[in-house]
Symmetry: none
Subunit: 213 residues, 4 copies
DNA sequence: GGCTAACCGAGACGGTACGTCAAGTCTTGGC
DNA sequence: GCCAAGACTTGACGTACCGTCTCGGTTAGCC
């Protein structure tokens, strides 16, 4: 089981083609908008045949999911752990989210995919399973770590998720609904608000009452 | 331009057809999903010809915008104004938003339209101009009114918008991204948090510094 | 039932498109060979969309069947009936067949369709039902009429068909298999042979014995 | 060029693969029809790779030509030469042709190849060169031999070919065009007719006049 | 009451993209 | 060098939906 039981013959999947397709899809989306992203146009720009695309992806949405998975930047702070205050960590996270949403090419891809997910449940779950859940896991861990410094006692997973919703939601909303990005001031205040919320007493007994939360 | 220069002859627009189209589009979307909503299928289900549709709408998105405009429920509270605390008003708004997003047929329409708006700038501005801005105006007024009781002094428009983002964002995020709706407890805590944020001192001098906010 | 019970609304089938498609298919086949006859290329040359073709025909073979039905020339002799000898009628028929097979554009179409029929039973029966049977009926009638002059007594249908096979077969075989057409001398001798066969005594009692013939 | 300049290394062509391919092509054609005969399906059924096929054949038509060449039965009569009358020889040939066309698996292959030849000149000449001409040569020799008994004096080659056309044509025509096979009675009468034609005087001076015949 | 413009149903039309299929070529690693 | 496996380019296939258009029939409203 540890050894490749049988060495497969024949040509392997062309890495060059794979990369060219992902890059072509990304470029087309950024340059010309989603309606220009066609399996045919991706194939042409990537210098690849349509059939090669359909051999490895089931749809252009599938391609964009792979683009997202590869390109979506993680929230990595350069500072060593433990040297940041909780406020700084949260502010940094908000800023990171905003930057991803509004400035990166990958943000465009994310927009389109969320847009498609809102119209199609299959895309929605694929997006969650393939991309979002992992990111949410990272963010949750970071958050728990940051808050553990200030408030001793474990931060329950559900509670962490609530806080993440409070953090990400407004950034999201501003970027998507109003079209105006989150400015640094808003980021800072948002972080502070969430921290305040965390420290408030009303939460203490609450989580037990929220069954599915 | 002011006067209809000439009295028109012939029959006027058929109200029956208009309603049948809107209803057919809504039903199709709710019953069979967005990919089943085509101009042809709407026409068929409405017992109307495609030409009649294209005479009055430019695309199926246009139809859905009209559906949304007609059906999207306003946040109407049964209580007379002035008898609710700010906390109650905010909690009610959050609850209303959540109900619209997750329970109504119109929520499906809204989802789809936001999804399309994320892929197409034209749809985005149409959605904002035709539907969202008006709702936002109502919500802002309601918010200003509610907060004026507790905190004398006008609530600046930009500040009100910030608070609305704080309120709507997490509801939005939960409904869209995690797929789990907002529960009453979360609604209450969210309202409280936003109120806390409003009363905090850090905001006092701040708005002046936020240029584009 | 005699009256068109209800006048249909809407646009009728475009005769121009129909004719253009048939003509384009014929031209492509004659100019560039069968492998150049593609639904796409027909559409392009006819100035028509692919969908219009698929609305009215199920395949390019269907189109060619229509071409054949419209263009395949009948065996019409200029002479008034009764002024030709049986030999002349038969020779004329053979010459006609040969000319159709080897010289006309329609002959190319016929070749291709027979070729396809040899590979596909559906095409074979369509070809027979739509085109060949009618021609065979005409030829049979002409043959019976011609032979009735010389040999009193009705020519049974089965017998007529046998003679038609004897007549058409060799023309066919030369055109298809050897690639060399039937010359006038061969035509004359073929006709004479068939006549001889007809007058011979061996046939008299025979047809009764041939069950499925 | 005269000497194989160097003894080749490595394995020679796999006879097993060659046979498997021919057999697979034949089986597929007989079992599932021509449209099921693809290079891929042949390779799969033969347990052979596509490359191996393309190394030795240029197309699936090429394969079928080989199938035909190997399997097409010769017209071998069990009787010793000289013990059959001309009528018997001719009747036997007609019967043989009919059996090949209508009953054997190879007949299916022949049909398909003739069908393809009618659509493609290259296939037509390949079919003639590789298969048909040799068979025609055998048939011609047999015919000349048979007729020499009854009618002393050499049967010119062109004349023999004419007679072969007269013989094969109707069998062909019945099998291909009408779909009804040749019955024994028809075979006998056909042979008799051709013999009659042969013995008639009109032929004597004729061949000289037919230039390309 | 007739005229006429605008409405309506039906649905054919030119397009664009889809997703599938087969042909024929090329690449890899084993024998 | 042959072979199995199979990825690759190419190009036709047949389908779906778009948005436009053309019919014949049906109402208003004004003369």
């Amino acid at each position: 089981m540890d050894a490749p039981r049988r060495t497969r013959n024949g040509p392997r999947r062309s890495e060059a083609a794979r990369v060219a397709v992902l890059r072509a899809a990304d470029d087309l989306l950024v340059d010309s908008g989603f309606q220009a992203v066609t399996v045919g146009s991706i194939a042409e720009r990537a210098g690849v045949s349509k059939q090669t695309i359909y051999r490895w992806w089931r749809s252009k949405i599938d391609i964009l999911l792979d683009v997202l998975e590869e390109d979506l930047p993680d929230d990595v702070t350069s500072r060593p752990p433990g040297t940041e205050s909780a406020q700084e960590v949260l502010t940094g996270h908000v800023t990171h989210l905003n930057r991803v949403f509004t400035r990166s090419d990958t943000g465009r891809v994310l927009f389109v995919l969320i847009g498609h997910a809102l119209q199609d449940a299959t895309t929605a779950s694929a997006l969650r399973n393939q991309v979002l859940d992992r990111r949410r896991g990272h963010a949750r861990a970071r958050l728990r770590n940051a808050l553990a410094c200030d408030a001793p006692g474990a931060l329950p997973r559900q509670e962490a998720d609530r806080l993440l919703d409070l953090l990400a939601g407004p950034v999201f909303h501003r970027a998507f609904m109003t079209g105006r990005p989150t400015d640094p001031l808003f980021a800072e205040r948002l972080a502070a608000t969430v921290l305040t919320c965390r420290q408030g007493t009303p939460l203490d007994g609450a989580p037990a009452a929220g069954p599915t939360l």
